[in-house]
Assembly symmetry: C2
Homo-oligomer: 709 residues x 2
């Protein structure tokens, strides 16, 4: 009936608008039941369950059999890690797989049969699930005794396929690959030509004393290649040329030429290429997001205009304001946007909306959220008004900064004075008394500011929230100290009591005070710019970080398979920085800690670039513990994690910073207002609006939606 | 009289046009005698003498007293360097100073009194000369026994002031300094906050076993600061965290946070800032060059239009074609440009030129030089025509590349086979025979190509010149080998004869063959692009390199003064890579070799970045040989040579590459024609032409030229 039809149209419009908000594709089934399923699938609960499942399946690696989740990384002190019984992790895995099976079925059903065959990601998803389940069955039938577990390498795929931003980024990276490959090829040519040169230049001589260079670095082709490859990473930079250089200074020209060409030119060329290529592709992907949003809105308009209640207008389609209000009430969207749209709908006097008006209404979605701080309280008494003026003034904040700086300086002085004292000689009185005074000042400052600005306004500034939180924590710590150890007095050196020693308490307080000093950031213009750029970068980097997790995970698991048992124990004789090398068994997450860098965790690997990897590479190559395959593994690792990823990061940083910097000049006056920037907003000035024809053509290609006209 | 006036005008026009060609300022005296002096000063001979003088005074450092121009850098084998007698270098210096005095007087006279006071460079030049001469007198009165020689630090100034491009670049760098300083300040804040954190975190504990981290890296404030500064350069990256990490894995978070914030964010931010700032300033400086050129041309037009022979036209000024031809004949300029201008002057039917026409004529100067290759010879006989077709075809070139590759592969195979053989076991027959064959082929290829293309056309391609030169050298070497050692036969192992042993000859031939393989570059599109970018970069980098030389020189001389005698000998016991550390006296150019990096020469320092400096820093800091001032010296050195210069280089590379890359797409079809690009041409698309008003306003501000109207 007409009522049912109208309900369907309303529901379709709701879903299309939600699609537009989330930048989702609208190419899904649009019948009533599918729409219900679609909204259920994209509901918060469902998506949260899916994310949780992905997190769980990825985290499994930390407790699975070759695991090393221990406090210390030093094998001499380390307790054996807990090994879960066979079947525990496997049953958790099965549960995860079941969730994924549901996920892929719903997704496949919703896109429809025809679209399914075009969607490579979905097919890969199904394939991955089939392989994983098969591997799981094999694993169980061996009672968890087999070592090669393909499904572990495939796990990061589940993370990848769930994020559209990551898929987009991967596409961008993929399109940059040919150019990158060219530079890498160039590097390879550079390396091989110089290797031949080196072998000819540093050949074996009849005089055994003269050919140190040959003995150590250029004995044969693989050695020479390795020496120069490591030189390319600058890890053995002075050492490799010393023997030849001692003989004749002119030999250094060879190494300098190699380093300048390879490191300075070719490596930076890689940066330039990645920056150049990536710039365009990021813009393109943002452009396609915009297209999806406009398409969703337009689709909602088209279905609403087919509502039977509206008078059939042959020339142009219209949407009644009432229908839109009905839709808006049911749409799940940011309440600020919803209110803004409702408001402009009310101010609009017409009761019919054309396509352009409809589109314009939803432009609110693209706008920056401008944060309004609540007003200060208005006091009646003159005294309070004066107080408010004095303590609400920026100068009071500056005074606070000066006091914080004084505190830092005093801590620094005490640290320098106490540096060489024995712990037993240390007198905590001075620092205790001083910190007590400063913390009282901080408390006073907070109270006065709240008085002047009102609690709501005070809390609406992030810097105040940061400040206040730390002040409260400091106060609590100080009170706890006094409660346990009494008030400070000269010769205040109490024994250990309670959870933490007095010394530890004081240290903790000091660390918090140092941390609190960061409140000066918003007061320094350039610092504030840098920090906001960094924060933006972190936002935009999420997709990259995700891909990095995927790569790291796959590398770690591959490494375990390749090197399980390959590193033999060398006893506990080595000391100092080498002690984490002397290891017994190659265990899951410590694989990379032992074979690749000297630290252990998967988690800690994120901070580790070039140097460690090369240190390790050098070490491993020098002790000849590993075979040629391992060499290839490490070179691949170096290329991906150190060269390519760092360059991608630099490209993104350049992009972000230059945009920000250019905009800073325009918006100097608006600097008080905090903008919430995303990658979409960053490019807004250069984005092109899709034309009506493009939108309509795309709408007519929709596989499930039949438009009346 | 009128004739004398006309002559003056003609001469003025000549000088103005020459100014325009060389992008010089036209603000100099314009009377007859000054013009003669001006042309003499800017004549090739004079400028060549000046350059030579600058080279000589800079090169003096290599032979002056604390010098180390020896073959080996190993102090155990090194002969004492030659010490010139007192008065030798000093008298050369005096000669140079006299040339500079003449230079500065001429320059000062030519710009005129008023301009002189505005020109800071000239004043600094005079000041430098006065200080240098005073220092020179002091030095002689001490009979060269004094150590502090200020004039040596000032020497690079002479290089700096002589190059307008370097002055411009310095100005650009100067304008970037505030931004850079902000980031460096940020780095300092980052460093000091983390240092305080570290000192609180890794404090001394009562249990002596537990505080390894404190003992080694964070004993007191200077130690902690140094540890973290070195961590910022990634030199001690894994080592510094190992003791703490062994205790508890969570400590690694501190180091990771520090590295990610400092290295990944702040350091790359520096790149971004330098790129962003520098981009604009480079464009600006090119824009001002263009303005100078247009101004020079306009000035020539104005003086020529005041010639009495021309009919006084009240409305608009004109220049007669005859006068321009007269001027052009006397102007020193590129003959290609001159011919092109003459040609277009003839095709222009008018005999009066307006300002716009005049300006347009000289646009030839801005155009790329399009290289035309001479035509191939035309043969009469069918056979020769077929030959020409076959050997002039690109496929013949490809065949040559394939043969060169085969040669490389064969050398590589022999190298791998011979890698572990004793020199006495080595049989040179195989390589000798093979190389003989290949060199014959190369010779044949060259002859056939010359036959097909004609000698002139053959030589007009740089790749052919490269190819031919190497082939001729190879042939000469081969003939020499055969002449000395006879033809190769199995068991060909002759004893040492003549200048080089057979083995050295063969090695030399092989190296040249590897080098010759570079001829494939123009055949690979991407490689060709990269190589042309690199060549452009080298062109544009000259100014940077000059500034780098200035900085290096000043640093080296300062270092000598600071550390003369500060490094004490440690005996000859150390071996291996440390042997160049064990030194007796600190001598001039080896100062940096001993104190800063383990290599010796000023010359070799250009290739040395980050790693060596930090290696050295670490080493010096660890052995506590140097005082706090030295620490500051090294940190300054690291900041300038490694951080700032490398970032400037990256900025320039990004700029160059992105421009080139964008243009590549436009000019795909024209790739056969070789363009000669300079930094001016790179930006042509974005440059703005100066307006007539701007030019005339500037002309009327000329201090010496009185225009009639």
């Amino acid at each position: 009936g007409i009522g049912a039809d109208n309900d369907l149209y309303i529901n379709q419009a709701i879903v299309f608008i939600e699609d537009a908000i989330q930048y989702r594709s609208i190419n899904h089934r649009v019948d009533s039941k599918s729409l219900w399923l679609y909204r259920w699938y994209y509901s918060r609960t469902c998506q949260w369950i899916l994310s949780l499942t992905i997190t769980i399946i990825l985290a499994l690696a930390f407790i699975e059999k070759p695991s090393s989740l221990t406090v210390t990384s030093d094998v001499r002190y380390r307790l054996p890690a807990w090994n879960p019984p066979c079947g525990l992790t496997e049953s958790i895995e099965l549960l995860c797989f079941l969730v994924f099976v549901v996920d892929v079925s719903v997704k496949s059903y919703l896109v429809g049969w025809e679209e399914f065959w075009k969607n490579k990601w979905l097919m890969a998803y199904i394939l991955t699930l089939i392989v994983s389940l098969t591997d799981w069955i094999v694993s169980l039938s061996f009672f968890c005794a087999e070592n090669v577990r393909i499904r572990r390498i495939l796990r990061p795929f589940f993370l990848l396929q769930n994020s559209s931003m990551m898929k987009k980024t991967l596409k961008s990276i993929n399109s940059t690959l040919p150019e990158m490959a060219s530079v890498v090829l160039l590097l390879a040519v550079h390396l091989s030509l110089f290797t031949m040169f080196a072998m000819l230049l540093f050949a074996r001589t009849k005089d055994g004393q003269q050919d140190k260079e040959w003995v150590v670095y250029f004995r044969n082709l693989p050695d020479s290649l390795t020496s120069l490859l490591v030189l390319l990473t600058t890890a053995n930079n002075p050492d490799v040329m010393i023997p030849a250089y001692s003989k004749n200074r002119a030999y250094s020209m060879f190494f300098i030429l190699f380093t300048v060409l390879g490191n300075l030119f070719l490596m930076n060329l890689l940066t330039a290429i990645i920056y150049n290529q990536f710039r365009g592709y990021l813009l393109k992907s943002v452009q396609s997001s915009l297209f999806r949003r406009r398409l969703g809105i337009r689709a909602a308009f088209e279905v609403l205009s087919s509502l039977k209640e509206a008078p059939a207008n042959a020339q142009q389609s219209y949407v009644s304001v009432g229908a839109l209000q009905q839709v808006l009430q049911k749409v799940a969207m940011d309440s600020r946007c919803k209110q803004a749209i409702m408001r402009s709908l009310k101010t609009c006097s017409c009761d019919q909306l054309s396509a352009a008006q409809f589109q314009k209404l939803f432009e609110e979605l693209d706008k920056d959220a401008v944060k309004q701080h609540p007003p200060s309280p208005e006091y009646q008494s003159r005294f309070m008004q004066k107080m408010q003026f004095a303590f609400g003034h920026p100068y009071f904040g500056y005074l606070g900064n000066v006091v914080a700086l004084a505190n830092i300086v005093s801590i620094c002085v005490v640290l320098v004075l106490d540096a060489d004292k024995q712990p037993s000689e240390r007198d905590d009185f001075f620092l205790g008394a001083i910190n007590c005074f400063f913390i009282l000042y901080y408390l006073l400052e907070m109270v006065l500011k709240i008085l002047a600005m009102g609690l709501k306004r005070y809390l609406s500034y992030p810097s105040n929230r940061f400040d206040g939180l730390l002040t409260v924590i400091l106060m609590v710590l100080e009170i706890a100290t006094f409660a346990v150890y009494g008030f400070p007095h000269p010769g205040w050196r109490p024994e250990f009591m309670g959870l933490l020693s007095l010394w530890d308490m004081v240290r903790l307080v000091n660390m918090l005070i140092v941390f609190r000093f960061l409140r000066i950031i918003p007061n320094m213009k350039f610092m504030a710019l840098v920090v906001t750029t960094l924060l933006d970068l972190v936002k935009n980097l999420r997709a990259f970080a995700g891909i990095l997790v995927v790569v790291f995970y796959a590398f770690a698991i591959t490494g375990i398979m390749l090197f399980e048992g390959a590193v033999v124990p060398m006893g506990n004789t080595s000391v100092g920085p080498m002690n984490s090398w002397s290891i017994g068994r190659t265990t899951l997450m410590t694989l990379l800690s032992k074979c690749l860098s000297r630290k252990a965790d998967f988690v800690t690997l994120f901070g580790h670039f070039e140097t460690e990897i090369i240190y390790c590479l050098l070490y491993l190559l020098s002790i000849n513990l590993i075979c040629r395959w391992a060499k290839i593994y490490f070179v691949a690792w170096w290329l991906i994690s150190s060269v390519i990823w760092v360059n991608l990061f630099v490209a993104l940083l350049l992009e972000n910073f230059i945009h920000k910097w250019d905009r800073r000049c325009h918006r100097e006056s608006l600097s008080d207002i905090e903008y919430q920037r995303t990658v979409e907003l960053m490019f807004r000035d250069v984005l092109e609006e899709p034309t009506e024809e493009e939108l309509m053509e795309k709408l007519h290609q929709h596989p499930h939606l039949q438009l009346c006209r």
